[in-house]
Amino acid sequence: MHTLNSTAAILSFVVLSWLTERGVHTILLLRILEFIEGTVLIVVLLVFAINVIYDLLPEQLRNVITSRFVFA
């Protein structure tokens, strides 16, 4: 679920920045938008990674430790 939603959010940012870039014809603003988009995508990926670490890994570790594979 995290994968699906973070992918959807990233695609939303890509599409929105593409739409914005179509309306902007200044090279400087285009470069600024590119850097903003890159930073935002990195941050969303970091948020996704942290969420996966905090949500999924403890569950998997518990499954391995208890040797009972429960996918809750």
Binding site: A9, F35, I36, V43, L46
Partner: protein, 141 residues
């Protein structure tokens, strides 16, 4: 009680809003880094603090919204004018006055109602369709 599909869609929507809000919260940090970069300072020692700032703001937004999205929507409180604030005499006077004023207000003619176009015509307790309205047109005032 919500169905499983309803609660799945609701939780998915909340998660999508959380991810999108985290990204929106990182935009100022991205703008700061972009201003660094277009001025020639696209170095690791500018990128790392900006990404850190963006991640911190995204995390704060995530913490705030993940609590806020659990709260129910506040109900709309309808104010009962007659119950409090105005007193019995004022309410009675307003009711008596309206008995004189309301009949004096001219009702719109059917032509005037027709001019608005977006009006729901109710006849004998039913919402009339456009065809009903056209059929009733000769008999209405």
């Amino acid at each position: 009680m919500s169905s499983r599909l309803d609660s799945f869609l609701r939780e998915s929507g909340k998660l999508y809003i959380l991810y999108l809000s985290a990204g929106v919260a990182a935009i100022p940090a991205g703008l700061i880094y972009a201003l660094f970069a277009v001025n020639g300072y696209d170095r690791w020692w500018t990128a790392v603090p900006c990404i850190g700032l963006g991640f911190w703001m995204a995390r704060e937004t995530w913490k705030y919204l993940s609590l806020r999205l659990q709260k129910p929507i506040a109900p709309v409180i309808a104010i009962n004018v007659g119950a409090k604030g105005f007193g019995v005499r004022f309410t009675a006077a307003a009711v008596v006055a309206s008995a004189f004023v309301v009949p004096a207000v001219p009702l719109p003619t059917w032509a005037a109602v027709q001019m608005t176009q977006n009006v729901a015509v109710v006849w004998q307790g039913h919402f009339a369709t456009t065809q009903d309205r056209n059929a009733l047109l000769p008999s209405l005032p």
